[in-house]
């Protein structure tokens, strides 16, 4: 049996997963072009993490579950229902941006409609929030669960510890996914932590912990699916570590050549999960020359359209500066 059928995923579903991963990549690439062209002041990238982001999201109930994504999660938010146009509106910081109306930098996601919590810049504050969602679900016998992501560097913040412990004590329906991309800006993994795996921290909370290859969509899907099942059954939270690599500089303000070798980055690019997933889909005749071309074209034209729209859209009026401080 092929990997996807073993997991109960149809051909349509895996193709859809791939389409969203590719969309995330292409959106991100366009952001860099727009940044370099002086059109948008800032980009923070998903590149190298799309596979884990989309695979994990597909393991959720996307009609019901809550999410608290972090700034790199273009793949997550696309999978959970944000549109390319909406992403472009936030990149251009326009009034119509559903995340913040242009108030926040790109990468600060949030949508009540999508049950996606509003995020901030100080890292890791979202972990206790997701735990609070889990608590509320438990109190209300709501079948939904909370899915929260963060970088491995952020797992060293106190809020990670406090939130994870709280979730474990109350057996809350929460999935914490650490996207370990090997760096916290310039600080390499071995200067951030001395443990072998970030998921080793789970044992100290008494929750399930597991490290998976973030470049393998099936491994990620399976781990998150099982975590979701456990959460819904009431057996408590899980800590999933998805290991990948940050293929771009930290952000458009960073120069990663000051702290890592081009050789290292080049090698990581060869292990890009998007490549191997594509090969898998081709080998299984799910992706063909034809539908791939069509997919790329559709994505491109959607991005073009979204870019034009967002570029032309108005900024929030200065008159709105004082709105939304209090009800």
């Amino acid at each position: 049996m092929s990997k996807h059928t073993e997991l109960g995923l149809s051909e349509e579903e895996v193709l859809e997963m791939y389409r969203i991963m590719l969309t995330a990549r292409r959106v991100d690439e366009r952001m860099w072009l727009l940044n370099r062209a002086g059109k948008i002041p800032f980009v923070v990238s998903c590149q190298g993490q799309e596979v884990q982001q989309v695979a994990a999201s597909f393991a959720l109930n996307r009609e019901k579950d809550y999410s608290a994504p972090y700034y790199r999660d273009v793949g997550v938010v696309l999978a959970l229902g944000m549109s390319i146009k909406e992403l472009m509106l936030q990149a251009f910081a326009k009034a119509e941006d559903p995340n913040s109306g242009g108030r926040q930098m790109p990468g600060h996601f949030g949508s009540r409609k999508l049950r996606m919590l509003t995020g901030s810049s100080p890292v890791t504050t979202q972990v206790p929030h997701a735990v609070g969602i889990g608590l509320a679900c438990q109190m209300n016998n709501d079948d939904a669960i909370a899915f929260v992501t963060l970088g491995e560097g952020s797992s060293n913040q106190g809020d990670f510890h406090e939130g994870a412990n709280f979730a474990a004590v109350h057996k809350l329906p929460v999935i914490i996914m650490v996207e370990n991309n090997q760096y916290a800006i310039s600080v390499a993994l071995n200067e951030q932590v001395a443990c072998e795996k970030i998921s080793d921290r789970a044992i100290g909370y008494g929750m399930h912990g597991e490290t998976v290859d973030g470049n393998d969509p099936f491994a990620v899907y399976k781990a998150v699916k099982q975590a979701a099942d456990r959460a819904r059954e009431g057996t408590g939270p899980s800590l999933i570590e998805a290991v990948s690599y940050r293929l771009t500089p930290h952000s458009s303000d960073d120069d990663d050549r000051t702290y890592r070798s081009e050789q290292e980055v080049k090698q990581a690019k060869e292990n890009d999960g998007l490549i191997s997933f594509r090969e898998y889909l081709i080998a299984h005749n799910i992706l063909t020359e034809e539908n791939e071309r069509e997919m790329e074209q559709t994505i491109k034209s959607l991005i073009d359209e979204a870019t034009d729209y967002a570029d032309a859209a108005p900024y929030a009026s200065p008159d709105t500066l004082l709105d939304g401080v209090y009800q």
């Binding site: 919590l117 509003t118 406090e162 939304g324 009800q327």
Partner: protein, 328 residues
Amino acid sequence: MPVVSYIEAIKTAMEEEMERDERVFILGEDVGKRGGVFRATEGLYERFGAKRVIDTPLAESAIAGVGIGAAMYGMIPIAEMQFADFILPAVNQIISEAAKIRYRSNNDWTCPITIRAPYGGGVHGALYHSQSIEAIFANQPGLKIVMPSSPRDAKGLLKAAIRDPDPVLYFEHKKAYRLLKEEIDNNEEVIEIGKANLLQEGADITVITYGLCVHYAKEAAKELAAEQGIEVNLLDLRTIYPLDQEAIINAVNKTGKVLLITEDNKEGSIISEVSAIIGEHCLFELDAPIKRLAGPNVPAMPYAPTLEKAFMVNQDQIKQAMLDLALF
């Protein structure tokens, strides 16, 4: 009409709100079985169960942060910080998160959390169980801060805080818990957040303060009225952030002489902002410098009784300052 203490008023407010609205719940350290270290939640665990009166792990950032998450879901959490001094590990969650959720999401998400914390000194609590820490938060738009001065206000303001659609910090004075008692006639009263309360009118001097100091000021004013016939116009701020500018301006303009009082250290305190509002709006009405009476600029109240007493603003000092101002 029953005589109710300040802490009973707090408990009753929570009890009634939990009764009224199923979404209201309490979380904090020792709030459950123990009923709170000051017994502010006594009996609520027994009445509403462990799911609505939650004993949390010892981690304030999680108490605030988990509460914020639940509030975003649509619940109405009341988070207790065991002492106001121990709210500091939760500052990031309160200022970066609770205060900014509505604004940063452009009104998409809201955070109706109430955070209660016992503040204040004069209880042999030493440096870390005596602090007034409201000034740390009183410059963060998105937050509201209330500090009740009486049982009636404690109840009405807590109800308002719980019903408020935005995050409210509620600081209650430890020494007031059992010191202050009064009859509460209207059980349903909800006291509007954002409005100061003119406690008594008077033509000679205006006194503006909040929290337990209101009690001392009232007593001092009573004595001065009886002994010297001095009439004090006494404004209780009730909400110390954002301030009720209009009430402040009106109260000052009535007498042209103003004394501002806080139990906190002086520099950078709530009464500094009150003074600035006055300096901006009432300058030509003033007949005397804007006088501030506050704790000394040392980190916090020491434990030794000699030093605690030397720190704490008291009724005698208040009376003297009022008299000086009246005679100015």
